[in-house]
């Protein structure tokens, strides 16, 4: 976010330069994710919701080509006439799309050709920026594209983990996670006064449309747990029959548990001995003091009920987070571990990074929410139904991508994100 903030103050040519720098940095981060992966690894698609790495790489360039080059580059010609269709995700306004569940069938173009595409689009975009004089609207779109690419960086990690999980060899594709901190953060609750507060984003720095406008909310006094729920605590829930007691669950949640046969968080397994979980470094024993991860909203909600607490609202979370900011010690993608570490010290340990924290808030428009005109307006608004808000970023989120007003969202049954929970109570 520091980087983003640095961009805005200097309008005019300086913003062109700053954006070019960010473009290069984001691109480098995307490419770094591909290290150690083969073209075959980048083909896998384990479910319609999780795309192949290659498709993600093509799609983030498609965004720049379609929304920037196509409208802003003199004498624009597409890199490939069919890529507009191949790499469109869900923008109905842009035209036909490869069906979501068929993305894993794109052996052609080869990964190398997609990397060439990415490089070419990058160069043409940098050339455009280099010439200067772009209208503010185009610069805003570039900034949106940079943030869009960061979102797909996180999805590359979570989707890939899901794909690899279906291989009984349980491949390791990143180094071992960092050794856990010696001391885990203590439990307990922090009290907040609430009152007439403001949440949402204001001002010129970048934020997604769904974070705007900043608006007033009334919040009753509340308490927020000093750290996320840990694996050890979640194990106590399991051992207490948490997955066998319908009275702890939302009705839809219980149905889902039965349908899917859930007995533990995603990626957990055990033979006769203790629980393990699959990580980007392969199978590993569970660290009791690390945050529980890969739980659905349903499981988070059931846990909270079992614990005599509840999930926070997104407004409570944001108000509590407003006084802090993601820092270099937090557990973000730049660390490269891609597995939530024990949270460090601090009043609200693990608030930033580590695991996304489920809230009890449905993902809905803020009062006065407005959608951007044109296809780019499909970015967020049309998904504002049947989803719940998560806050705070995860170990797979770039540090510069997150902020207090950031709203992530997934359906209540989703488990393949790095999703955990922090308790709240009145």
């Amino acid at each position: 976010m520091a980087a983003v903030a640095a961009v805005r103050p200097f309008e005019g040519e300086d913003r062109h330069v700053a954006l070019a720098g960010r473009l290069r940095a984001v691109r480098a981060a995307t490419l770094a994710l591909l290290e150690g992966l083969t073209p075959e690894d980048c083909m896998m698609q384990s479910m319609a919701e999780a795309s192949p790495v290659k498709w993600h790489v093509g799609h983030v360039s498609w965004f720049f080509e379609t929304f920037l080059l196509e409208t802003g580059e003199p004498g624009f010609r597409p890199f490939h006439p069919r890529f507009r269709e191949l790499f469109n995700s869900y923008y109905v306004g842009v035209g036909a799309r490869q069906p979501r569940g068929w993305r894993g069938l794109l052996s052609r173009p080869a990964l190398q050709e997609v990397l060439d595409y990415q490089h070419a689009v990058q160069q043409r975009l940098l050339a455009l920026l280099g010439r200067g004089g772009l209208p503010a609207q185009a610069l805003d779109l570039i900034e949106l594209g940079i943030n869009h690419e960061q979102q797909h960086q996180e999805l590359i990690v979570t989707d890939l983990k899901h794909h690899f999980w279906h291989n009984p060899l349980r491949p390791a594709w990143r180094g071992s996670p960092a050794a856990p901190a010696e001391n885990a953060a203590p439990a307990g609750f922090v009290a907040f006064d609430g009152g007439l507060c403001e949440i949402g984003h204001a001002g010129p720095s970048f934020a997604f449309d769904n974070e705007r406008p900043r608006h007033r909310v009334w919040i009753a006094p509340f308490e927020l747990a000093a750290r996320p729920v840990s694996n050890a605590e979640f194990l106590a829930f399991i051992d207490d029959g948490g997955y066998r007691r319908p009275e702890l669950w939302l009705s839809d949640g219980w149905d889902e548990r039965c349908r899917q046969g859930w007995e533990a968080p995603l990626y957990w397994w055990r033979d006769d001995g203790p629980w393990h979980s699959y990580t980007v470094a392969g199978d590993a024993p569970l660290d009791p003091a690390a945050p529980v991860c890969h739980v659905s909203h349903y499981e988070a909600d059931a846990y909270a009920r079992w614990a005599g607490a509840r999930l926070p609202t997104e407004a409570e979370w944001e108000v509590a987070a407003a006084a802090t900011a993601p820092g270099p010690a937090d557990d973000f993608a730049e660390g490269g571990g891609f597995h939530p570490r024990r949270p460090g010290a601090g009043r609200l340990a693990g608030l930033w990074g580590g695991v996304w924290e489920w809230t009890q808030s449905a993902y809905l428009p803020y009062p006065g929410f407005e959608v951007a005109p044109g296809a780019v307006g499909e970015y967020n608004g049309k998904f504002m139904i049947n989803q719940m808000v998560l806050r705070g970023g995860s170990c797979a989120t770039p540090r510069s991508h997150i902020r207090a007003s950031y709203r992530n969202f997934f359906g209540p049954a989703a488990r393949w994100q790095f999703s955990g929970l922090r308790l709240a109570r009145k």
Copy 2:
């Protein structure tokens, strides 16, 4: 609501008497719904979500038998040892249940036996009340059971309409709807200041747990349409390609539209000529000035987007409704038409009765919401996910059942309730 209010002021024995009177009145209203129906009519089940009439009749007595007689009647013996299982809806804490989609397979007990059950439970309950001295908690449960029965009265109407719809004979089972009012209410918007408001129910009079506690919310200034959207207005949406333009729809809504092949509200049909709709009095031409009905949240939301407006939040709706109350001229179940009429005059015409109005609010717990202990606590809380709030009652709601804080809720794809919409804008 008047009736409910009348009960509470006189605590002690007087409340026993008042509740006995209400029990008799509610029972009479349930039985009146069965007029003109055969035992075969009361067997039908067209989908898992819509129960047979006979099952509804058994279930409302099951509620009283299970939660009142079983715990409060000296020497209690069940009317039939298996009814506890047959007529349990979703109370996991009570034990086994006939699967929801199999309720239409209960040819035995016969309708007459279920009516005998209802009568016996009623008599025993009245005897219990007649003896007096029941603890407040038991009286509260009776009041809950009365309101519970009223909810099922509405479901009897909406479910039955859905069942009959699958019969190509399109049976008429109630008299023709009342002749429409000569003049429809005018369009336009009414402005509200918002500010720091209170919503939810407080005080001793009856309300469901989901309406409590009363709490403060901040509301920005807003406008609410002077009447619900009419059939004529909704036809303009259809004629403008509303069902063919994905950009007007939420993403999940568009998927549902495609999956179901929706081209118009439920129960609408036409051959070569103008649109008709199936009503409880059989097929009838569409009244352009009546409120559009049997639309899902998805359709309501798409219409609002098309109209350059939005759905209200439940807080906005409640604040607007707080100054008014359901009155004798409003279109409720007591009128017996079971089809929404043209709204009459008034500042917010048709706010009460007629059609339930979809809001843009997800059905979630209010701050400080608490669930009752025991199986009866499964009443509302466990459904607080994946559903949207509707407000104001319909032509099938008993007048005494509704109030400003009342929260109805259905999934965003549901269409078989009498559900319409009223626009809001900032």
Copy 3:
């Protein structure tokens, strides 16, 4: 079959008289099935494949009205203009049809109205016959209609048993089955020479089109078990892990077993003690010496493999049966037990009636098979795929309906018919 045979020899007016007699007898048998059933019982539909009793009753009259009265009655007017659609089963050539899975939603017409329909069609048909002079083609259609009604008599029993099974009260709707014979038929095999044989029906007496033409087949020497597999024998298969050993099953059969969770034949259940089964007389202990019943082709095939034998082909079965005929001691619908009894003595005990016997033959057209022109030609031919042949009739088949060449057919997963098996070996 005796009755049918009696019809043909006296052509001309005598055939009119004979058919009128059979019509009356078949109608009486249909009505006898309704004894003890309420209109509600006749509404149930537990799956798309099993129709409500009321629908069966309407459909058999629809057959006569559509194929006889509509074409043959001077000045024909339909009993009800919509019954043509309501009671059409699968005759595409006749026009629209109530969807198969929605037959349980026809509360209107009431059962009484359907019985009136049946009576009226019967009277008009008898009047037509009384006038005499009908062409042979019309008389053939009446004979087809009589046999068609007998088929639906059996389906009334099997479908109703399936519907009632979903009611936890396990209703009994017929008297207790006859006391079992003291001595069960002995096991063992009967040897047959095979050679160049003829199967299929020839001559003027009635048979369905799928039994024609009579044709030559070469059959190798084979042996057929002296009686059907018994419950005791099937229990040994279960106790030997028959439902847990995929190597005993066809691949599709094993998949189906897993999908459905089969652990025993349909309608079998037990708590802690011995196995019981649901019968038309309610729950009853299993008779070890009675034929096993309500097994799918998959289970029959797995049992045979476990027993070191195989199912017979339909040609083997027919050749073995050709020398015998259904007799008064056999276990047919006229006995009213509707539950397979212990087979009596005889060289091939229980060959007729009791349980249908699965063969290893797919239901395919005989060489030279020809379909009747017009909609009535949809009777059999279009189902000749994905089904297996069963032979010999069951305890729910009318005795006069069965013959050696009779081919019944169901998909290999079907279990709700009275289906068992008899072993064969080379």
Copy 4:
């Protein structure tokens, strides 16, 4: 078949030598199929029924490793301890298996590692053969493995075509098909006497267990079309409303057509102009004189009914084919075109190769059929249900693989094989 026939006559050491030669030749043919494919191409899986190329390559080596090396190689150690699970197709007796629909998620092992596996198994198998002295049973298994690999060669082609079809780029991965023959074979029928015939395989040369034993069948006189149905003829069926007339279809076939929305054979498409089809050389105009291909049994059956004919039985086909043999001019995999050519001249043109010809025979065991003991016995027998027989081989079948008694089989809805039809009539 010539090659196979060449193996058997010289028993003892000579058979070792001959098998080693065939092993090398078959391996070379498998590797030749990979030319022009990238590792990404070899990853695709478009449906559970169609496996990735890489999986096929691993599986054919798995067969040799599991059934030959594991039991016959002194001091056997598996190439990789988990490949036994990864590359098991459906042999329950061998243990756990990667779920069929997840084969496309095996990015690891890489294609190169699978090729290394293939090479290592080949070398070890050749060493085993080189040492000589293998029991006849082991030599039989090697011969089975060779034929097994040839079956997977054909599946590599048909599955890959299906995978690529989901890529809107419509990749071409083989050269253009050969120019069509100038003159198409003439239509007409050839008459056969039938009588007491023999079908099935006898003698020492290789055949699958499902082709045995040779046995007698009685066949009535019949006629077989002089060539397969052509694209032009099938177009006439389409133009005559063939896909809109339920009376032409089997009931299950019509349901499938409606469910899938079939309007033409698989891989056919058109915009405004004439029909095209997707081929291994990319999109191409339809050759009217080439055999129609990629039709299901349902479509073949409907076409035959429309044409006033029928499909042949497998016995008729085999008797007609017995006097001929696949020759060098026939359209087989060795030609490399992988697209059916116009049939050449001859009395029964196109009988061998080109397209598999659907028969009206269900895939069932021959009289006296016996399954091999052990897991290898799962090869054929357990699939003998719900499938129909195809005969004659296709343009993707190796010439040495086919013979008159060869029985291919697929479900009646399958279309992705090179399947066509030849008419028969009585």
